[in-house]
């Protein structure tokens, strides 16, 4: 789902950079001076875990596949603002050190995976956890990545290289990632449960910055 250089029109790159920069700035402002000592390593630890998990491409027969993205997990464990910053660090390092995702498309990739996936995943978890925690975690991971993929489909679909093929790009991204997103949902549920069981002293960020 990492968009490379060359796919997006310049104006799309610019718009996505502006939106993403605004959300990153707002998130940093919300968090400034709010972390206590035990919470200082959380952004890095969650980011490192997500980076490692993203390296594991799912080997699905037929080949059309994806890998774990993890925005919903970051949003659920850290709250949307710190979750966003954690995902931004993952995506930026992937782009600069590993050439995964283009530098011109970084604003778009951040929007899809560090903003849409994080905030949607967090929102679904928060809205539904009172009914059933496992189901809310599954839906957060699934729908978060599904909407992130649709956002990517729109960004490429309004670009000239894709012949303005919105009617192709959105269904291709939406249907495939909608199906593959089930795996993301299951991993999200298992991973958050693992952290909550294995880290009973897990100190979440203060309520005010978890939204």
């Amino acid at each position: 789902m990492h968009i490379p250089d060359g796919f997006l029109d310049l104006w799309v790159c610019a718009v996505m950079y502006i939106i993403s920069a605004a959300v990153i700035g707002y998130s940093a402002k919300k968090l400034k001076g709010k972390l206590e000592a035990p919470q200082v390593p959380l952004i890095g630890i969650v980011g490192a875990g997500i980076f490692a998990a993203q390296m594991l491409n799912w080997p699905i027969p037929g080949g059309t596949s994806a890998h774990f993205v993890g925005g919903a997990i970051a949003g659920i464990l850290l709250g949307p603002y710190a979750g966003c910053l954690s995902m931004v660090s993952v995506l930026t390092i992937q782009c600069l050190v590993f050439g995964d995702g283009g530098i011109t498309a970084l604003g778009a990739n951040i929007f899809n995976m560090a903003i849409v996936d994080v905030f949607v995943g967090y929102g679904i978890f928060k809205a539904l956890r009172r009914y059933n925690q496992d189901v809310s975690l599954f839906l957060a991971g699934w729908i978060g990545i599904w909407l992130g993929a649709i956002a990517a489909g729109v960004e490429i679909g309004v670009s000239s290289i894709f012949a303005y093929g919105l009617m192709t790009t959105v269904p291709v991204m939406g249907i495939w990632h909608g199906a593959l997103g089930i795996i993301e949902g299951i991993i999200t549920m298992l991973a958050v449960r693992y952290v909550l069981i294995k880290q009973p002293d897990f100190v979440p960020l203060p309520k005010e910055v978890r939204g």
Binding site: F51, A149, A163, Q199
Partner: protein, 100 residues
Amino acid sequence: MELKEGLRKWRKVLFVIAVMILLSPFFAWAAEVVGYAEPLESAAEHLGAMEHEYAIISGLIPDYTIPGANPYASAIVAGIVGCLIVLGLGLIMGKVLQRK
């Protein structure tokens, strides 16, 4: 000291991260076997956009492979390097955002 303590508390999660890094070569191999391709690439191919793909910055370890090195050993090195940088970057962010 506080930081060391903070990381120690997360040793089980750090262990899981280490396991994922060690498994990455098997996943790289399996992805090759099934012909891994993402839906984004399918859409690009369908609309003839694939030839326009390029990388302005290919990075120190392009595509998680050290040029000339064994790709499976590369995956482990890439995993270690990537996780350490992300961890470090996150710690710096955490420090900057900490209550003074």
